[in-house]
């Protein structure tokens, strides 16, 4: 028997360490000899902490939301008693969430112990490297990757093989492989999960990239806010070196490759290629103009393969299964799977992996279990602050690079934020614009000044100062920022605003023309009035009002001066007769 406790950052945050300790304590007390092991995240965020118990035949029983108290009950029933503890078994929706996915990149996440290379090797790890290094030429590796139609998972969707061939062709002898692990989109955590759950897979991909392009040094640029990922990467690098998969003369061949970890200070813009390489070089993390492109002059002005975590983690699978088999997953030109972080007003939040081209409907309703609290689906923000929002009419759209681009959205790094009918789209646009303007590096004028002005204009609408002209100005600015900003961050900064205006023009107009926030989310549009039938004239509201907006004599119906009212809600809290209404 073996007990596995999911301990990604999410699991640990939910108390998985205490759960694991509780099991260990029980085992010790019972003087039994059962290992309590660590594994990464399986993706079921809302059901953490998750515990898998394997019996001696390898059959696994999964428990969810296991607190230390539940752990004791599970121990008594299952470990000691031999019968599963049914109240904590994974619910059917959770099981469906897992069953409906296709796990390629994350197939080991939540299954193996990421801190033990033996687990990775046992699950087929480093076989791709061994195949590539012994049986394939660098051209053959590039051909397989090119033929597999693998495209960069960081957002741009550039064909990975093409990038590698371009780097390989450069005559400059020194080249670099850089892994972008600076995942910064709000709500996106695919790369973190891969690094925490199966770090060797990505290292293997990087080593193969080095082999294919002639690079001997790799850098992982990972944000410092991912300490667990960094910790596990360091362990993985040490173990890979000890086992001869990394370092000098890999697997006894002439090929040597080393990997360094660079910590980023959490600037979103450092996810942009040239800002990222500048940051590794010790420069200010600001994008530069292109050409030259990163494949020609990247890190330290040398040809550089720059891919993100998920892309590299795909590489061993591509090498092992071959181009054709890989292409059989997904849709034409969009091969393989894609990991998405499913969050927002959806029942089953978590990390999922589905074949490219899976419909939005299937993701949100089949895997995600539909919108929370039986509310109506309104929209989904895809691609984080660079992406756009999709509505009900897009639910059957296949999730792939090309289809999304056609409707003004993008996969980005794979964030999916589901919104229900109570979500105000202006507020959502404002939220993303606030993020982008804070994360702008400030170099080019459109992004630095333009996003800030757009935020101010969105503030105007949210705070009931907007006019039709405000909307026109937003579109004008968005157009210029998209067309003229220096880097990808800037060029896509206005997307959330443009797409919400396009999809939800009526909602914007309701704010600025009718003076109403249809969802009631924008405080400035709320009006506080006294329900004359209910008011008994007790005067309590008048006493608590901090701005003296309420008038009325004793035992007479009170009145709120809406011009003076600051909508602080004090009167609502004070009234014992529910006589204050918000309209």
């Amino acid at each position: 028997m073996r007990i596995l406790v999911g301990q990604g950052s999410c699991g640990i945050a939910s108390g998985a360490k205490k759960t694991a300790a509780a099991f260990a304590e029980q085992i010790r007390a019972a003087e039994m000899d059962i290992p309590v092991d660590v594994t990464g995240c399986i993706g079921l965020c809302y059901l953490e902490p998750i515990v898998d118990i394997y019996d001696d035949n390898g059959k696994m029983t999964r428990y969810t939301k296991v607190t230390p108290d539940t752990a004791k009950l599970i121990f008594d029933a299952h470990v000691a008693g031999g019968t599963p503890y049914t109240p904590a078994l994974i619910p059917a929706a959770g099981q469906a969430f897992l069953d409906k996915q296709t796990r390629v990149v994350m197939k080991n996440c939540g299954i193996i112990n990421p801190e033990r290379i033996e687990d990775y090797i046992a699950s087929g790890g480093y076989r791709a490297l061994s195949k590539a290094i012994r049986n394939m030429t660098s051209d053959e590796i590039c051909d397989v990757v090119l033929g597999s139609d693998l495209r960069g998972r960081g957002g741009g969707g550039f064909p990975t093989g093409k990038k590698w061939v371009q780097v390989k062709r450069q005559s400059e002898p020194v080249k670099y492989v850089v892994c972008n692990a600076d995942e910064g989109d709000p709500g996106a955590f695919m790369d973190r999960s891969i690094m925490e759950g199966d770090p060797h897979k990505m290292l293997e991909g990087m080593i193969i990239a080095g082999l294919a392009t002639g690079a001997h040094t790799g850098y992982i640029y990972v944000r410092a806010e991912y300490p667990l990922a960094v910790h596990r990467l360091k362990i993985a690098i040490d173990q890979a070196k000890a086992h001869g998969y990394l370092g000098d003369r890999i697997l006894g061949t002439d090929f040597s490759f080393d990997i360094h970890i660079n910590l980023g200070a959490g600037a979103f813009v450092c996810g942009e290629g040239s800002a990222l390489t500048a940051s590794i070089e010790g420069q200010r993390g600001m994008p530069r103009v292109k050409p030259p492109r990163t494949v020609e002059k990247g890190l330290f002005e040398k040809p550089t393969v720059l891919n993100n975590v998920e892309t590299f983690a795909n590489v061993p699978e591509v090498i092992l299964m071959g181009a054709e088999a890989f292409k059989s997953i997904g849709t034409p030109k969009n091969a393989g799977t894609k990991a998405f972080a499913l969050t927002g007003n959806v029942n089953n939040t978590g990390l999922i992996e589905v074949p490219m081209g899976t419909s939005l409907r299937s993701v949100i309703f089949d895997i995600g279990g539909g919108v929370k609290n039986g509310k109506k689906f309104k929209a989904v923000q895809i691609g984080g602050p660079s992406g756009g929002c999709l509505t009900e009419s897009h639910l059957d759209l296949p999730l792939d690079f090309d289809s999304l681009e056609k409707v003004g959205a993008m996969i980005g790094s794979g964030g999916l934020v589901v919104m229900d009918e109570d979500t105000c789209m202006v507020s959502i646009a404002r939220f993303f614009m606030n993020f982008t303007q804070q994360e702008s590096c400030g170099k080019c004028v459109p992004c630095r000044e333009g996003t800030h002005i757009m935020l101010e204009l969105l503030d105007d609408i949210v705070e009931a100062r907007g006019t039709r002209e405000t909307i026109d100005t937003l579109l004008d600015l968005g157009d210029t920022i998209c067309a003229t900003a220096l880097c990808g961050l800037g060029k896509t900064a206005a997307n959330p605003v443009i797409s919400t205006i396009t999809q939800f023009k009526d909602e914007y107009l309701a704010h600025v023309v009718d003076g109403v926030c249809p969802t009631g989310q924008c405080q400035a549009y709320r009006k506080y009035v006294v329900d004359e039938d209910r008011c008994v004239g007790c005067g309590l509201c008048r006493k608590v009002c901090p701005v003296h907006a309420i008038s009325g004599g004793t035992k007479r119906t009170h009145k709120i001066d809406t011009q003076v009212c600051i909508k602080c809600n004090s009167c609502v809290s004070a009234c014992k007769f529910d006589a204050i209404q918000i309209i």
């Binding site: 292109k290 702008s440 400030g442 170099k443 004028v445 002005i453 600015l477 067309a483 003229t484 220096l486």
Partner: protein, 575 residues
């Protein structure tokens, strides 16, 4: 032979050769494409986004960062581009101080000029209030440069010139996004940093975020002070640039400057080229002595205060090898004030002398205030004005500069040799020293010194001249980054020189931080005008200047060391 390449700009074929980017090709085709962050000498930055062009498929790209390709088709003035440019300008203006009437750069500000050109009469988004409040403190700590971050448009030109051209890096970007600012490390006052006051940042600044610290009020006060005898010296490089500020072609306007200064009320008008002759004599002596005595060489020139500061900050070990000669400006002030003390009866008027120096240089303001250069506790140069400040004073006085009748200097400190006036351009000090060293002093021989490899605006030049039974190896370097690279090679033993002339500003004083900005072609023109002034001089070598002998006999006597030499104390910034 390679085939001529063409691209199509606005429907017309334009030939191009080795232009680095479309912007250069477009400008060559006679179209003034707007740009706020492009200087051909600096790296491509691509931040202002004003230089955008459109291709035939409607793609928009910045012309500064796109290399031209044969067969390319671009448009520079489409409705789309016009819309974007206007909107970008409005964005910039939305957070820019708009107190144009009281701005020193009014009429000369790139942002203002573009706003006018694109007909921006209103800025829709100016609620942030940033435009109307002095958010940032104005930094007046530097002796030379005023820093007003409220007027900064964050184009990064100053940052790049400071690090790429000058290797100083006193300023850089801090923070990000809307909070981005150009500032010193840890917000130290500029005067406490390693800034060498070269003023190249001032030259490239498109607005008034970096300006010369204005001191013309002090000049007016002195002129109108009845107890003061105002003596003004004008440096060589001023005469080839001031005219440009009055829409004149590049030519020698020294005779007009003399006339203007007299009209403004200065009592005596002299030329720093006179004391440059003194410098040549002293520095040649020093070089020959060091060679004879086998002292550590190279000897580095010392006329450039930006270079002296740089050496103090970065290479204090080289200070013993820097010439002890004071700069021509300081030699002038020393001598002229000494004359007033020694020979009161010979003065044109007996009032207390007040020496004003008109310089192409911002660092001279710092130099004039250095303790090491004061005598008897008093600075010898009372006030330094830059070329640009002089132009402002001329305008303030209502003088129509380009209509003035030419006038001459006063004697005796107004007379100079052709060698002295060469100091205004890189290689000039060296050429003047060579003229001192060669034995044939005919004007024909003087004509020939130009062919020794001293001329031209390249950042680094080297030459070898025979002297008696040996050779003297010389390097001429301008731009501090070039100087740094050369010094590293000297220190590593890779190369050896006997004498190194260093000018902080690329091209020398003609391109000083106090001058109106000049591109390479304009610098070349300025240099040519100085060379013409040399050719037209009756006396072409320093010791041939008759007034130099008078100065030695009547004033300097045995006081050479006190009046003409200095030992700098070393590192000035203790931050």
């Amino acid at each position: 032979m390679t085939q001529q390449k063409y691209m199509t700009i606005n429907g017309e074929m334009v030939a191009f050769d080795d232009e680095k980017n479309i912007l250069e090709v477009v400008r060559k085709a006679g179209i003034d494409i707007p740009a706020l962050c492009y200087y051909s000498d600096l790296s491509i930055y691509g931040a202002c986004r004003m230089c955008i062009v459109e291709d035939e498929r409607g793609n928009i790209m910045t012309s500064c960062s796109t290399p031209p390709k044969g067969g390319m088709t671009i448009f520079t003035n489409t409705p789309k581009l016009n819309k974007h440019r206007r909107l970008i300008l409005k964005m910039l203006l939305s957070s820019h101080c708009r107190e144009c009437t009281t701005c020193v750069h009014s009429g000369n500000c790139s942002l203002q000029i573009l706003a006018n050109r694109f007909g921006i009469t209103d800025v829709r988004f100016d609620k942030s209030g940033k435009a109307f409040k002095d958010e940032y403190k104005i930094d007046l700590s530097s002796k030379s440069i005023k820093r007003d971050p409220n007027k900064c448009i964050l184009c990064g030109d100053c940052v790049r010139v400071c690090s790429e051209t000058q290797n100083v890096g006193a300023i850089d970007f801090a923070y990000r996004g809307w909070n981005l600012e150009v500032t010193t490390a840890f917000h130290e006052p500029l005067g406490a940093t390693e800034c060498v006051n070269c003023g190249q940042c001032v030259s490239v600044c498109p607005t008034a975020a970096l300006t010369v610290k204005p001191e013309f009020d002090k000049a007016w006060d002195a002129i109108h002070d009845k107890t003061k005898r105002t003596i003004v010296q004008v440096a060589p490089a001023v005469r080839v640039a001031l005219g440009e500020m009055f829409e004149m072609e590049t030519r020698n306007v020294m005779p007009l400057i003399n006339a203007a200064l007299r009209k403004m009320g200065f009592d005596e008008i002299y030329d720093t080229s006179f004391s440059a002759d003194l410098t040549v004599i002293e520095e040649s002596e020093e070089l020959l002595r060091k060679i004879r005595q086998g002292e550590t060489l190279p000897l580095f020139s010392s006329c450039c205060p930006g270079w002296v500061s740089y050496a103090e900050n970065r290479h204090p070990d080289l200070l013993p090898q820097i010439s002890t000669c004071k700069s021509p400006m300081e030699m002038f002030s020393s001598v002229v004030k000494e004359d007033a003390v020694l020979n009161p009866g010979l003065q044109l008027d007996p009032r207390e002398p007040y020496v004003v120096a008109v310089m192409p240089c911002t660092a001279k303001k710092y130099e004039a205030a250095r303790d090491e250069l004061s005598l008897e506790g008093q600075p010898r140069t009372d006030l330094v004005l830059t070329t640009k400040e002089l132009a402002m004073m001329i305008r303030q006085a209502g003088i129509r500069f380009n209509e003035l009748a030419p006038e001459a200097h006063d004697l005796l400190f107004g007379m100079y040799s052709g060698a002295g006036v060469l100091f205004g351009v890189t290689g000039g000090v060296t050429e003047a020293v060579i003229r001192r060293l060669i034995s044939d002093k005919s004007n024909r021989a003087m004509n020939n010194t130009q062919f020794l490899g001293v001329r031209g605006l390249e950042g680094v030049k080297e030459l070898t001249i025979p002297y008696e039974d040996r050779e003297i190896r010389i390097a001429i370097v301008s731009g501090l980054k070039n100087a740094e690279n050369l010094i590293r090679k000297i220190k590593s033993g890779e190369i050896y020189y006997d004498f190194v002339e260093v000018m902080a500003c690329p091209g020398g004083c003609i391109n000083g931080g106090g001058q109106p900005i000049a591109n390479l072609a304009e610098r070349q023109e300025r240099a040519e005008v100085l060379y013409a002034d040399d050719r037209l001089s009756e006396v072409r070598h320093s010791e041939g200047n008759p007034q130099v002998k008078v100065a030695y006999d009547r004033i300097i006597k045995d006081q050479q060391h006190r009046l003409l030499h200095v030992h700098y104390n070393g590192r000035r910034c203790e931050g």
